[in-house]
Subunit: 426 residues, 2 copies
Amino acid sequence: MATISEVAARMKLESPLVAATPVEVRNDALARIRASLLAHKDEIFAANAADLAAADEAGVAPAVVKRLRFDEHKLADVCAGIDDTIALPDPVGRTLLKREMDEGLVLVRESCPIGVIGVIFEARPDALVQISSLCLKSGNCAILKGGSETMRTNRALFELIHAAAVEAGLPEGCLHQVEARADINELLGCDTSVDLLIPRGSNAFVRYIMDNTRIPVMGHSDGICHIYVDGAADIEKAVRICVDAKIQYTAACNAVETLLVQRSAAAELLPPIVAALQAEGVEVRGTDEVRAIADCAPATDADWDTEYLALIVSIKLVDGVDEAIDHINRHGSHHTDAIITEDAATAARFMQLVDSAGVYQNCSTRFADGFRYGFGAEVGISTSKLHARGPVGLEGLVTYKYKIFGSGQIVGDYASGKSSFHFKDL
Amino acid sequence: MATISEVAARMKLESPLVAATPVEVRNDALARIRASLLAHKDEIFAANAADLAAADEAGVAPAVVKRLRFDEHKLADVCAGIDDTIALPDPVGRTLLKREMDEGLVLVRESCPIGVIGVIFEARPDALVQISSLCLKSGNCAILKGGSETMRTNRALFELIHAAAVEAGLPEGCLHQVEARADINELLGCDTSVDLLIPRGSNAFVRYIMDNTRIPVMGHSDGICHIYVDGAADIEKAVRICVDAKIQYTAACNAVETLLVQRSAAAELLPPIVAALQAEGVEVRGTDEVRAIADCAPATDADWDTEYLALIVSIKLVDGVDEAIDHINRHGSHHTDAIITEDAATAARFMQLVDSAGVYQNCSTRFADGFRYGFGAEVGISTSKLHARGPVGLEGLVTYKYKIFGSGQIVGDYASGKSSFHFKDL
């Protein structure tokens, strides 16, 4: 059997062929994948049942088991996601710039696939389908490693996906699945073959990947998100949004950790917000000032730098938007932060100066998601500022190349002054 | 005196303010820098004379000393570069996407500066001016470390540049220069404050940086460039281009290393190409097949993977465009590769399948340069596929953020089906 390095090296050489396939072939691959998943759903469900039974036997918590499940409902979701992805415009081969440098010398910047992408993701079978679809649609080759708790489901899904892609005319080597945890370390060393790594999972895991490879990594480290409730907030909106941002999906990176409330309006704003959160079972932690207004647990300095991933929220009072911005830029993780205010100028200042991938006015931080942004799906959320920031859909999976169409030009003629550039965008 | 970590941390907090400055302020800063350099040129030239004298005393080679020089000619060049940069459109605050997600819920993707950029560059005073101009125009803060051989010139230039920027209304902390080599290592550890590192210099140096920091790095490792001379080439163009690509600036990363010539036309193509190169003092190395047609030194396997940065070129025969593509994708560094052919279909195949930042038809690989692409100037050339690829101008120094303007929306309503998205690009 080929090693991961050999697989990656071959994939690297084949990736230009995958990149060159017409969008019709790539869309056909997605349509065939969809059809094949539906036609073989019983096999998939059987494999998933075996995974679930094994998880149950191993004593995995019911909340986690829920993520492992792949049923009719999840199947319908991924099929809808494939339909959305097919409908998205081709991200490849777009002319991003066309410029005449001189007569008979034309520069073109054209979007193209990144090449070979390694994706390491959590035990969620629907993620495997989403990621494969996005990689194929964008003309990339991918090496996939899913969580081992759904190994049987992953295997069943991958075989169907791979066979459907090859039937559509894509090369055998366009997708590869690895199963052993040890393969991840071998993958990290493939920096001459793999163009991008996308690790999904815990902060510690993403950091481990970043520290142990030369391959560029797209991932996020933390999700420490804030809501600043301004004195000019609509109280009802503030309450609804703070509650949603905390409880709608507590384990998500875009759930809120800290509420910053304008001091001058705290007496009015705090009691309903704190009461609504506590009514939903949220542990509220506040500074002394906060606790003087609304009964809650004490907050410590560590709270401002902690991603809870649990039903806990911390609250602090601030003078106004500038102190809120300063707190967020110091303690946040540059992920997603919101302001609740009816004052457009205050909102504009917050959204300009908060240095985060997402800055929202009057809506929940939970909107930070590729599907909700209309990207069809996402391969992850990036808190890096390079390449892709925020939810990453198809556009994050392409790069560009420069083509120059000349007619014999040499640089010597431009250096000597014999010829000169006249840049003219076409 | 503040440590680099302290400087970087303060810069990180000030960077949103720099990002928020109107383009008029940033252009005014550039105009003031230009005026100040001209007004104080005698001080700059005196500092440079001291650097040159010290280099001379230290026995630095004349070819290198040439790069250290900052004279009337270089001053005129950097002033012209500043004018070009002022004239370029503002890369910041551009609306890249505007989408109604639902009624009263609007998503905007807007370009914004990256934030804090560390640039470590070779001993070339003009580079300091170019890099500062590009960083300021794009609303970024920058920590600059130039080559120590021009320390006096760098100091004189930086003081003028910094003072002019502050006069224009930019914060004191928008630019910082470091001089000690030890500061580089401290800078590498500032991964919570510095958003991007751009190292320029030798391959070994760039690799050292990449291996010793968690900060994203934009740089290039090698420049192993190829020209494929197709059977359908115009011989005269082929000769001119091969000579220019080798000799016009031998030390550049975009100079050619290897010529691949179609076997069926080699008897006709090789003799004039080899003769022209040898007439310019180039050492030509060829395979046995090549040497049977044109007299030259023998090539070994190591030649296909070597960046010469010297008057050496290697030549190999190939069956046709597909073998050329395969050789380039295996041995090249994904920098810049050219095809010489009058056949448009062959050129299209080459330019599609060669996996490089620049793929050219009928012109010299030496065109890979930000100035020649019409970018005003460049901070470097990237062989990474992430973020920016090829010559990096202003556009490579910005990222984007997502803004959502809501009116009280929560995700719970969309999850429950009470509300639904209707994506509509505005």
